[in-house]
């Protein structure tokens, strides 16, 4: 009963945007007329379609989450998080206006740390929720961990990574990836994540140094530009030329920075997914920097040239890109793959919604 991926790849996406379009447009319509309330059910419909059109080895994935549980998760997060923080915000303002900046700063830092802790928990629980609602061959994933310990890990590793002038950020990203995936399972099988930051450091340094380089270059060019203007006897550089220069400079700055960010992220995803294992399966993510650049430019074009309507297809595009570049090797023994014994979380990824962070 050994199932092995054949040459066509373990993962394949069979979706068709013409099948997806009716889902996307009715979702948009229903979300508008329900003042956004339907968005939880809309997201569920999208996932059900995307999952059901995704084949792993010999069978499709299945999404069993419901809109109601996403909605309940959101309400819970709202009551437990948004309201207390709103009240705290009012108090903070009061303390500040009463002239106690020290106390206000202390409250602010405490709140900020608490917030980071909650963000950590939210990331963990969203991953756990998604695995627990993903079925394959009637078997689901999950985790026995509540993610409270992960919250602390997230807090201190993120702070430590940032404090060292940001140089340890690749380490904090990969070690946190390991931290959460090592607590996840599918059926009886544990995920094993062993990502290291070593291969990412060079690319991260580039990301780190290039903005400084560009800035220096820009200042030098700006000065030269200004100097030639003076020599021309006009007294000031022509404003039109200056604006054009600034425009090109800003465009270049973000363009170059964006490409370098993708250069880093493509290595990051190749590393973290490439070192992930599940039982006898190994994974690989094949998207190179150029694939990411084309993907991002395509998405931007899709949204811009349709005056924003294309936004409803972005989830489809993201998923198709992800699955197209996801590979798996090794084998699954179906006889050993028994139902997960992890506790099913009762509600959806509400906390993550409250923080407005996407994906995994």
């Amino acid at each position: 009963m050994n199932k092995q991926p054949d040459n066509s790849g373990a993962f394949a996406f069979h979706g068709d945007w013409r099948q997806f379009a009716p889902i996307a447009f009715t979702n948009l319509l229903l979300t508008i007329v329900t003042l956004g309330l339907y968005s939880f059910w809309a997201r569920t419909r999208v996932r059900r379609y995307l999952w059901s059109e995704t084949r792993f080895i010999d069978d499709r994935l299945e999404w069993t989450g419901t809109g109601l549980e996403l909605f309940i998760g959101y309400l819970l997060a709202f009551v437990l998080f948004v309201i207390p923080f709103g009240v705290l915000n009012l108090v903070l303002q009061g303390v500040l206006l009463r002239g106690h900046p020290g106390a206000a700063l202390a409250i602010f830092i405490t709140v900020y740390l608490l917030l980071m802790y909650l963000v950590g928990i939210a990331i963990f629980r969203a991953l756990r929720y998604r695995l627990s609602r993903t079925f394959w061959h009637g078997i689901r994933g999950g985790s026995d961990d509540q993610g409270l310990a992960y919250g602390w890990q997230y807090l201190w590793r993120t702070i430590a990574g940032t404090l060292a002038l940001g140089l340890l950020i690749p380490w904090s990203m990969t070690s946190l990836w390991n931290e959460r995936w090592n607590k996840m399972s599918f059926g009886p099988l544990r995920f094993e994540a062993a990502a290291t930051a070593g291969s990412l450091t060079l690319r991260f340094l580039l990301f780190y140094l290039v903005p400084i380089l560009i800035l220096v270059l820009g200042v030098v060019m700006g000065v030269m530009f200004g100097a030639t203007g003076f020599r021309g006897g006009a007294g000031l550089p022509p404003p039109g030329g200056m604006i054009a220069f600034l425009f090109v400079f800003v465009l270049l700055f973000y363009g170059v920075l964006g490409v370098i960010a993708l250069f880093f992220y493509s290595a990051y995803f190749r590393e973290v997914i490439g070192t992930l294992r599940l039982g006898g399966l190994e994974f690989e993510f094949t998207a190179r920097t150029m694939d990411w650049v084309k993907f991002v430019l395509g998405t931007v074009a899709l949204v811009v040239f349709t005056f924003g309507i294309g936004y409803i297809f972005v989830a489809y595009r993201n998923w198709a890109f992800f699955i197209r570049h996801l590979k798996a090797y090794g084998s699954v023994d179906l006889l050993d793959l028994t139902q997960s014994t992890t506790r099913e979380p009762g509600q959806g990824e509400g906390l993550l919604d409250a923080f407005d962070i996407g994906a995994f």
Binding site: M1, V33, L35, R60, W63, T64, V332, L335
Partner: protein, 349 residues
């Protein structure tokens, strides 16, 4: 009747082939003896042409009909989900129409509620809320010389004997006056510098008192809170823009109501409205040379239209007395400079 199905038992991952045997309103699979109610079957997504059902309280349990369900069986089984249980029952277009109607009603109710609720909130509660949010403004209020007495005289003149109004001058070089929850009005020192006469100040003060009397601060507070709650469910950006749009369109109407109130107060107190009209014209840029940049703060929170100055100017008739004597006006303008204990204006909003 029997029908061929594939089957996952939700315990192991092995796909079994079996026959579905229908027995009245129950069924069993040919490879097992367990019998289940047909009503316990739950429709799942159709996958690659296979129609799939799950079973209530059995996660992962699935049967699939390769190529679809025969018609005579489909009648016995629960219908497939599409948009969600409620919408499927009534159909997409009727549901859309009903939701749109409900949404319109909700928006109307929502836009009217803050005004009603704000007036139902007792002033004492509003005052407590104000205390929580801003307190007594620390050491930044000015109390120099005869200034407080002059300020009290001005308030008394245009709004006699209202204990709920509490006017303070704060040592900040900002040309503005704001109303805080709980009937607190804050005049910034910059406004005292920019005003050419006590009558101008009286008009601005009357406007702020109008906000207090109309409960505008509470209404605006409730509206903002309500908007963030309602729009929180939508995409962040859309929410933000809509929020700003709705909040600003509201404050225009509140501004003109506060102006009407101020005009009425000036008339009752026999203070001329013409200087206030002049003040608005100056801020509006007609005489733009003195302190246009300084005036930006007032303009940002109180949009000045030519209509505003006109409303004040047209209300002028009869004889008027100055709002304060020259001595009182001098004392009021000196309320901050002559106060040695007040904090220096290093604080920025």
């Amino acid at each position: 009747m029997t029908y061929p199905v594939w089957h996952y038992d939700g315990v192991t991952a092995v796909r079994q082939m079996a026959d579905l045997v229908i027995e009245g309103d129950r069924f069993r699979l040919s490879d097992g003896a367990d019998s289940h109610a047909l009503a316990d079957l739950e429709p799942r997504d159709t996958v690659g042409g296979d129609v799939v059902y799950g079973l209530r309280r059995r996660p992962g349990w699935r049967i699939g009909f390769a190529g679809g369900v025969p018609d005579e069986l489909a009648r016995l089984l629960p219908r497939q989900y599409r948009y969600g249980r409620i919408i499927d029952r009534y159909g997409l277009w009727p549901s859309l129409a009903v939701f749109a109607l409900l949404a319109a009603v909700a928006v109307v109710v929502f836009l009217r509620t803050p005004a009603l609720v704000a007036r139902a909130v007792p002033p004492s509660v509003e005052r407590q809320l104000g205390d929580l949010m801003v307190g007594d403004l620390g050491g930044r209020t000015c109390n120099g010389g005869d200034g407080p007495a002059a300020l009290a005289a001005l308030v008394q003149r245009i709004d006699a004997d209202d204990a709920a109004i509490d006017v303070r001058v704060v040592n900040l070089p900002v040309v503005n006056a704001v109303t805080l929850p709980g009937g607190r009005i804050v005049i910034f020192d910059g406004l005292l510098r920019a005003a050419k006469s006590p009558d101008e100040l009286a008009g601005v003060l009357g406007h702020e008192i109008g906000h207090v009397k109309n409960r505008d601060v509470m209404e605006s507070l409730l509206r903002q809170m309500g908007l963030s709650v309602l729009l929180g469910g939508l995409d962040g950006n859309v929410g933000g823009y809509t929020h700003a749009l709705l909040a600003s369109s509201y404050s225009r109407s509140a501004e003109s109501r506060a102006d009407d109130f101020a005009i009425g107060m000036l008339r009752a107190a026999t203070v001329s409205p013409l200087p206030t009209a002049g003040f608005f014209r100056r801020l509006g840029g007609k005489e733009g040379k003195d302190g246009v940049a300084q005036a930006l703060s007032y303009l940002a929170s109180h949009p000045v239209s030519s209509g505003r100055a006109k409303a004040f100017a047209e209300s002028a008739k009869g004889t008027y007395r100055p709002a304060l004597t020259p001595e009182q006006w001098r004392a009021l303008r000196g309320i901050c400079p002559s106060d040695k204990d007040v904090e220096k204006p290093e604080f920025r909003f």
